[in-house]
Subunit: 381 residues, 2 copies
């Protein structure tokens, strides 16, 4: 039995566009920050036994079975690596031939569009790799997670992670690498405003295909804008330059949503509440005379606002001022008295468009845990 | 005394970006449709007399005086042309030396962002050119109107109008030309949904400057996307190919708003209501299996929906179904019974974001009128 936990990651340099749908090979390299375990995490336990009837998967307590092509592809790759080990060492039990049970739970707000599938596939790969005692490095395993969900490959590392797009058609060089670990910049924090939305977003896989096929601005983004930004953002992270990191994060979020809007038909992920939050962050930075907070939005209206611990009382103070009505502030209730009261005008009704706040920070990536979701009989507890 | 009327024009290929702020020289060529007189028009009367005390201007009944640099620049150019005439023919009265009175009225909904300044400067130039009996062709005069407001140059023609960006630094080749007159495609109609908005838009001059200076996608738009589309859109107009014209109109609107969003800080003109209207138009076209309606949005949330008369009962039928509560339908009250009832699902509350509908059609451009706004004494009536 093996247990793994992984967490969500939020792109600061966006992944948008596939050059190979089946292998999840991207049209550009990307960078993300992996967030802390306690707030947004998937806990996955894998167990194998010759006595199990068949491969099976339980998600949040519900038996799902192993159906999706992407899950099947990950499982196949992991079994192949295990088979190679077994072939080299006859004393090893034949795990690769036994059915596998996977039990997974996440604590993401339901359907909030918070990259739960990335965390899910990362946790699945890590849990099975541990069960199989695979010797491969995380970058190697990230190629398997990538086939499950592109962004999942970056969740195999903590801290700041790059997904190098690679050139090969078989995807063997399209993998995640660590830019810097959590310990390099542990004061990086994030406030996630979960924005309510009345409409269903375009699923990201469909959206990407549409952008690649129809946006006239997309080629310029992936060939010219992103490659330059990729190098510059790595430098900003390595030198812990929040202003540079923040500016690029905001610009790349906007650039990504711009090519979505330039798709035909256009794809909209930002709503009026998202736009208000964007303006609030710019107003804060302008008043401070430097960038102390940076927003990014994935394929949905939720805002992720990065800031450094040193400016927490300002950044959270401003967000608290206008969004104190939403749930999620309990975590910092003893800090509220220190929050600064900045005078930045804002729509005092904007909180109505937000369902909750998640206060979190940079995380250490996949971790083993003693907490198991599987009983001795190999079934969900 | 001379009287001119001109109307608004709505860009189908967007003008966004100046290479020269003072001369209003654009970074790309653009195309627009000039709309009909009765719905959105500026009526301007110009009078000159040696007995007037000074140059003066009244706008919608209010004495404004001639203050703005742009108005002064237009007046100077027009006087220069008149002076040349007077120099060549001594029998002509010395209008160029006399004070001028300009009285202007428009019927645009207040501050609705419906290109009223373009119509205003076009009417001013036409009225004074008539008063001065200038022999210059409209394209020549369009260069003067352009200095008032870039888009104004296109309002000097009816029908479909191109603004050729030109190359010269003095702007002498940056002028409007007719693509096709009203008579070429008289069945082109437009429904304008005036969208309410709680925030002040970024003024277009400021917005353009910001996009030119900060958007990473902008250069690609103006150097690659627009030049190709400019030629293709002219062809679509000349062949009365609504599907091609409509698709390019929608794509260019989206491309323009994409580079606004890619600006730093980002500029938003579309709001949630605008986005709903965009989706409705795409849903209609999809159900019909061809493009019979096309939206375009200028620097604000108002939707201009173009369609051909032959599909009026479908297009207006759908808009009426979901926006019948807003004012502006009186004009077609006898037609409502023929409207088709299409079954396209939509947010039935969306009408709350729209203040009125303006039903209009392609127009013939500047026209002389017997209606004068100036009394015999040279003052507003």
């Amino acid at each position: 039995m093996s247990i793994g936990r992984t967490t969500a990651n939020f792109k600061t340099l966006k992944y948008w566009g596939k050059r190979d749908k089946t292998l999840n090979l991207p049209t550009n390299s990307s960078i993300s920050v992996t967030l802390a375990q306690e707030d947004l995490r998937t806990l996955t336990t894998a167990a194998t036994s010759s006595s199990f009837e068949k491969d099976n998967l339980w998600l949040n307590g519900k038996e799902e079975g192993i159906k999706g092509d992407r899950t099947i592809a990950c499982l196949k790759d992991l079994r192949l690596l295990r088979r190679e080990m077994e072939a080299a060492d006859a004393s090893l039990p034949k795990f690769s031939e036994w059915p596998i049970h996977i039990v997974s739970e996440n604590n993401f707000p339901t359907a909030a569009g918070l990259a739960s599938s990335a965390a899910g596939f990362a946790a699945l790969v890590v849990a099975i790799a541990k069960l199989y005692q695979l010797p491969q490095l995380m970058s190697e395993l990230s190629k398997i997670a990538r086939k499950g969900s592109g962004s999942a490959c970056r969740s195999l590392f903590g801290g700041f992670v790059a997904w190098e797009m690679g050139d090969l058609t078989n995807g063997e060089d399209s993998k995640a690498v660590e830019v810097a670990p959590l310990s390099h910049w542990p004061s990086m924090k994030a406030a996630i405003l979960v924005v309510s939305d009345d409409k269903k977003d375009t699923p990201s896989t469909t959206g990407m295909q549409s952008t690649v096929a129809t946006s006239d601005l997309f080629e310029h983004r992936i060939n010219t804008v992103v490659p330059k930004r990729f190098e510059e953002m790595k430098k900003a992270i390595l030198s812990r330059d929040f202003a540079a990191f923040g500016e690029m994060t905001m610009k790349d979020s906007n650039s990504f949503h711009a090519v979505c809007l330039d798709s035909y038909p256009p794809i909209f992920y930002l709503n009026d509440t998202s736009k208000k939050i964007i303006k609030l962050v710019h107003a804060l930075n302008e008043q401070e005379g430097k960038i102390i907070a940076a927003y990014t939005f994935d394929a949905g209206p939720n805002a992720v606002i990065y800031y450094d611990q040193e400016h927490e009382n300002k950044v959270l103070g401003l967000i608290h001022k206008y969004f104190h009505q939403v749930s999620g502030w309990e975590k910092v209730s003893d800090q509220v008295a220190q929050f600064e009261d900045l005078s930045i005008p804002f729509d005092t009704e904007a909180y109505k468009g937000v369902s909750r706040i998640i206060l979190t920070q940079i995380g250490s990536g996949p971790q083993e845990t003693s907490e198991s979701l599987v009983s001795e009989q190999g079934l969900p507890k």
